[in-house]
Symmetry: C2
Subunit: 382 residues, 2 copies
């Protein structure tokens, strides 16, 4: 039932929480946030509880006041979520899946156990064990190193190409290493599922990364891949969301190899950067779909209305402090340029401060405008 009296609690009030909040505001849904004061979502929620979503007591106290609990970031206190489930609360995504996904080692083992395609990997207790493995020829350059936890927005991932990298770039702590797979394209597919096991899939998107910040820079939808591969990617996403038994959204990041093989990179059980464009270009947005799915409602039509290009607005290098936006007016005047500024009070280099989705009748026009926006819209400090 479409029930606007149900209290929905979100752990985290960043940009994803804010966009969930805006979607909820349009439906008169009753949204409550647990995060720091002044977080972006605080502007658009019914109430903000100031607290730490990594703190057991904070999450438990907050969750007990809610009818339904969800997240906008996976690095939350899942112990409290398990307790809330025990107490009869509905928690989506389920905390068992969250525990698997938060730890990239467990996530990789889950793929193997479930016959889901992923790059070969090894687990290590710490960085010294990695150095030893190289020494003993159990690990060969080049490889990818990922910390098992605390990775977010491209942090916690590094590429080790040679002895010099091994000595200077290795990340500390428990980690995994992966073969450096040759990649033709990076794509992402967002699936949504409700408690009745209904699944909907958003069209596959193609990602281009910023070379230094390791953050998505351009996201292109529909992905420039064959319809066959798109269909395979979408089928794989459906398989993955069912395997994790997740209700709500699951974003599945995939590598496409030169042999047209699809390999799972990683997943996120929440609204995702690769779904921002759906606000402006799809019949239903990922935020709306998440709200429908976690409320066990029928979901909306994921089709694209128009081709779209999304770019993240990152804080400019050399700018730290109170945020200021340059060039917005000229970009808006292009037409089809949808600017979303998250309302973070301060900027710093490469911080995600907003995004822009450009829609047009064809991808070529959208890409041209996206390049203009990239060059002209700047996030700086006063």
């Amino acid at each position: 039932m479409f029930d606007t009296t149900k209290k929905i609690g979100i752990l985290g009030g960043g940009q994803l929480g804010k966009m969930l909040g805006i979607a909820a505001a349009n439906w008169d849904f009753n949204i409550h946030i647990l995060d720091k004061a002044d977080c972006p979502a605080s502007l658009v929620c019914q109430s903000l509880t100031v607290g730490d979503y990594n703190n057991y007591e904070n999450v438990l106290d907050f969750g007990r006041k809610m009818d339904l609990i969800t997240i906008e970031i996976e690095h939350v206190n899942t112990q409290a979520l398990h307790q809330l489930v025990k107490e009869g609360k509905t928690v989506h995504p389920n905390p068992i899946a969250l525990d698997l996904i938060k730890d990239k080692g467990l996530q990789k083992e889950f793929y193997i156990k479930n016959n889901l395609p992923t790059a070969k990997f090894q687990l290590f207790e710490n960085e010294k064990a990695v150095i030893n493995a190289v020494k003993n020829s159990n690990l060969h350059f080049p490889f990818v190193q990922k910390t098992r936890t605390a990775g977010y927005d491209g942090k916690g991932v590094t590429i080790i190409k040679n002895q010099h990298d091994l000595e200077n770039k290795l990340l500390k702590g428990a980690c995994l290493t992966e073969d450096l797979v040759p990649i033709k394209a990076e794509i992402a597919v967002i699936a949504a599922r409700n408690e009745r096991d209904e699944v909907t899939i958003f069209p596959a998107v193609e990602m281009e990364f910023h070379p230094e910040a390791n953050l998505v820079e351009f996201l292109i939808c529909p992905a420039r891949i064959s319809t066959l591969i798109a269909a395979q990617a979408e089928a794989l996403a459906e398989q993955v969301i069912r395997a994790f038994d997740v209700c709500g959204l699951l974003a599945v990041e995939l590598f496409l190899t030169p042999d047209n093989e699809l390999i799972i990179n990683e997943v996120a059980p929440r609204p995702h950067n690769s779904g921002h464009h759906t606000i402006d270009s799809a019949y239903i947005s990922q935020y709306q779909q998440h709200l429908l799915a976690i409320n066990n409602l029928s979901m909306g039509d994921t089709a694209q209305k128009q081709p779209a290009v999304m770019l993240n607005l990152l804080g400019e290098e050399g700018h730290i402090g109170k945020v200021k936006y340059e060039g917005v007016e000229n970009c808006l005047a292009l037409g089809g340029v949808n600017v979303h500024l998250y309302g973070k009070k301060t900027t710093s280099p490469y911080r995600k401060m907003g995004h822009v989705t450009i829609v047009a009748d064809n991808l070529e026009v959208a890409l041209k405008k996206a390049n203009f926006v990239k060059q002209n819209l700047k996030v700086v400090s006063f």
Copy 2:
């Protein structure tokens, strides 16, 4: 300059204020509302000042703390706005235009003075003077009677067809009467203008009214009129917004006669019911355009992406009290159905509780879905 530090004050926090607030939240604009506690816009603004926008002191105190003042309802205390202009504040729309528009008598006289087409009319001090005019054959059935002030959402307007209506339906107080013009279609055009005298025009829309509530029921965009008439309507709207010297939005409601003449019915210098669909179907929404225009920024592309049908969600007859929505899930599942619920706590018969915009590749499909929504989505009480 696109300046997110500027404090923008809005008089009124109803649904129009809420939708302005959502548009502002996406751009990190700094929005403050003057209205009652718990008003719809209170959810999405930086601050709510609880007060009465018809009270001189309330408006003055509120306005003095702002850099830019605008409205979401024209029935506000304009005396305070004149004072704020004197004190150097930017007020859009300008209070001179507001005074003219608030009083339908002055509004009609303004059209005559500016050679703008409008139905013939007479002014009366009160309802007794109307009765006398009929008695003395200075006024003939049928005619339209409008109160000079306090008309809103179809209130303050009645049609007097005969002696029985004259005795039972006449509205009290200062009023005007208009010839009952034969009408082929009712259309509306929304213009936007900035301080540099740049004007943009949204495509003409066609309105269908609810027979009893005298509220727009279906709004169809693009209007099913010839391109010539659409162009004439759009040119007329441009003329009217310049005549009133309004910055921000001006919605111009027009009658199309069987002779294909366009006649101005009335105007509203603010976001308007006939522009709701732009959120979901145009490259820029009326709310975004208003924010750009009052900030003296270049405006966005008003073109439609897809045909759209908008319907208001009115409180069902026989239902008064805490609001509940029925049938939302089935409507959303149709695809292309964009539901906007305003978050009013209580419903009453014919109260505007939300709206739905249906977009589709062609108008026929959108109209079919709109009829389904009309029959299935109900606003009732617990």
